[in-house]
């Protein structure tokens, strides 16, 4: 594993989160899910986030993907103040700088694997003739090259998860945010996804944040942290 990046000086951080808080208002009372979260992520790192269910792991990942706004705090990615972006700049950010794997491994229904991977490229303005190559490369990384023209409805749970990972990779983002990407995978596929993650970060430019319940997967990451009672602890 590439641990050298994490020991580099603090201003080389790819992600810098400071005093991040999130409070949900469900109409009856206020639920404080995240309290004063502080952390940095450097290029080349794979950060595991663990914690019991309902502890706010998905909430944190949604904030990092700016699907959700924090109640307070700051969030910089590559020197850019992410929370100040306007709506179109947010879309641009999601399209070019982060790749997201959802917990539910959502794929577009009634669409082929190819079409699922094509949309990020369409939105990023990639030329049509360049798309097949990039889609094939991303699918190869999760060993699904042979499923390229299958319908998403006919994939197994594990295959869906791998397609979701491939879709997060296809635009070569700086940061990949994965919410339990190995939850439905058997051991060997789980580990091979982790191997792919390691390969991706080995370029020294990319970082990955993985939410996981699996201690073995966490052990394969470069850093492990956990959320309890809204607070992030580094291990």
């Amino acid at each position: 594993m590439n641990k050298s990046a994490s020991s580099s000086p603090g201003n080389g951080a790819l992600i810098r989160v400071t005093d991040l808080c999130k409070t949900y208002d469900n109409g009856v009372d206020l639920i404080q899910v995240l309290r004063n979260i502080n952390f940095k992520v450097y290029p080349g790192e794979i950060m595991a986030i663990m914690g019991p269910s309902g502890s706010g792991k998905s909430t944190l990942l949604f904030i990092l993907g700016i699907f959700l706004h924090p109640s307070s705090g700051s969030y910089f990615l590559g020197g850019q103040d992410v929370l100040s972006l306007d709506r179109n700049a947010q879309a641009e950010f999601r399209r070019n700088r982060v790749g997201f794997v959802f917990q539910s491994c959502d794929l577009l229904e009634n669409s082929t694997v190819y079409e699922n991977l094509e949309f990020p490229l369409i939105y990023a303005g990639v030329d049509r003739q360049d798309r097949p190559e990039r889609i094939a490369v991303a699918l190869e990384r999760v060993n699904l090259g042979h499923r390229i023209h299958h319908s998403s409805n006919r994939l197994s749970g594990g295959e869906r998860q791998r397609v979701a990972v491939a879709r997060a990779l296809v635009n070569q983002p700086q940061v990949i945010l994965a919410d339990e990407p190995t939850g439905q995978l058997d051991r060997s596929h789980g580990h091979s996804i982790l191997d792919h993650f390691s390969e991706i970060v080995s370029d020294g430019k990319t970082a990955i944040i993985v939410v996981t319940h699996d201690p073995e997967i966490a052990a394969g990451c470069t850093r492990i942290s956990s959320i309890r009672d809204g607070v992030l602890y580094e291990q």
Partner: protein, 392 residues
């Protein structure tokens, strides 16, 4: 998002969800087909009514005559007047005639008196008469001044006791004429008791001057009758004296037929616009439902970096796909109906009228697609990613 991607994705989406959209598309398509047929065929159908249904078609025939009993100088229609009338807009055909009352015939010792009507070759067509037996003389007979005649059915029965008289000879004013046929389609007993001679023959044979002072004129449709009737005196006046000129129109019957036709047309237009309106409401509904049921898809696409306008464009172009696709289908169905109808009534509308109708239908379709699809698309585009993703 590039336009060709947008089109491809939208068409694919619509085709994959064709079951959801089929009802709306069919409704609009039928509306378009009906609309095209009204635009293109209504004049043809009226024309056809006109020719085939004497009852309705009769109202398009005008009788124009000089009342020579009251006129100081005898009057008749001049060649130039006829030519000018034929060229008048809305005039389909006309026929020139002259009448001689109290003509006599002797048959087997009995005397018969009747009217002789000297007519041109167009008379049968204009008055919608058909041969009961034998044939009605045509242009050849008129040009050749032949001595033949057509006899009214009642007169034939009175004289010969039978209507099968074609080929027999008839004596009029001591001259012999061959009967070429018996006249059918006559409701007027005066005409059923008359003898018809070619205009030229009568002019040659009858003593004195034959005054061609009656004209029957058929308009193309009943909508033309008013304008044609109004224009006639002016046209006659520019070539000859219009003294004691009378133009007779069956105004009452015309009004009734026009009202009936107006109602039929109105109801069809009403039905058509109702289809269009329902089509619009249908698209609205279907798109609203699609936005709700595709919340996750919208959230996912936004998470993949779609901007608000990408989502807006996608839903709007799907709505347009539906309405324009429906219009296309409707144009196809309409064309088929038009061909069938055209075959049945043996008449074809001008091609540019069809294209005019199709263009209009496409404009409607775009208006409906944008009008009904805009609000649902805006709603889709405004959706927040996280609420879309967590939506169950």
């Amino acid at each position: 998002m590039q336009l060709n991607d947008l089109m491809r994705v939208s068409v694919r989406q619509v085709i994959r969800h064709r079951r959801r959209y089929m009802g709306v598309v069919l409704a609009i398509a039928l509306g378009v087909a009906g609309f095209l047929n009204i635009v293109t065929m209504s004049r043809e159908v009226k024309n056809n009514f006109n020719e085939n249904l004497d009852l309705i078609g009769g109202v398009t025939v005008l009788r124009i005559y000089f009342d020579n009993q009251r006129s100081y100088r005898p009057q008749w229609f001049r060649e130039q007047t006829l030519t000018a009338l034929k060229r008048l807009d809305g005039v389909k055909e006309l026929s020139l005639t002259a009448a001689r009352h109290g003509q006599k015939s002797n048959f087997k010792g009995q005397h018969f008196a009747f009217m002789v009507l000297a007519v041109d070759e167009g008379f049968w067509q204009v008055r919608n008469f058909w041969p009961l037996t034998g044939k009605l003389f045509g242009l050849d007979a008129v040009n050749a001044h032949t001595r033949e005649c057509v006899i009214g059915a009642e007169l034939a029965k009175r004289m010969f006791g039978d209507t099968q008289v074609s080929g027999t000879d008839l004596e009029i004013n001591l001259e012999i004429y061959r009967i070429s046929g018996g006249l059918g389609g006559v409701t007027d007993s005066g005409l059923a008791n008359s003898v018809f001679l070619p205009l030229t023959t009568a002019a040659d044979r009858f003593p004195g001057r034959l005054l061609a002072d009656r004209l029957y004129l058929r308009c193309a449709t009943w909508d033309d009758v008013g304008a044609v009737a109004a224009a006639i005196p002016g046209i006659v006046k520019s070539f000859q004296s219009p003294e004691e000129l009378h133009v007779e129109v069956a105004w009452e019957a015309l009004k009734r037929v026009q009202l009936l036709a107006w109602w039929i047309e109105f109801l069809i237009y009403l039905a058509t616009s109702a289809t269009f309106l329902l089509g619009g409401v249908g698209i609205w509904n279907v798109m609203m439902a699609a936005v709700t049921s595709r919340t996750r898809e919208i959230g996912l696409k936004k998470a993949m970096g779609a901007e608000d306008r990408d989502i807006l464009a996608q839903f709007l172009s799907e709505a347009l796909c539906l309405s324009v696709g429906a219009a296309l289908l409707g144009a196809g169905i309409g064309r088929i109906l038009m061909e069938i109808l055209g075959y049945v009534i043996e008449s074809r509308p001008p091609e540019n009228l069809f294209f005019f109708g199709v263009t209009l239908a496409f404009v409607f379709a775009v208006v409906i697609g944008v009008g009904a699809g805009l609000y649902p698309s805006i709603r889709a585009s405004r959706m927040e990613v996280v609420s879309a993703i967590r939506y169950e």
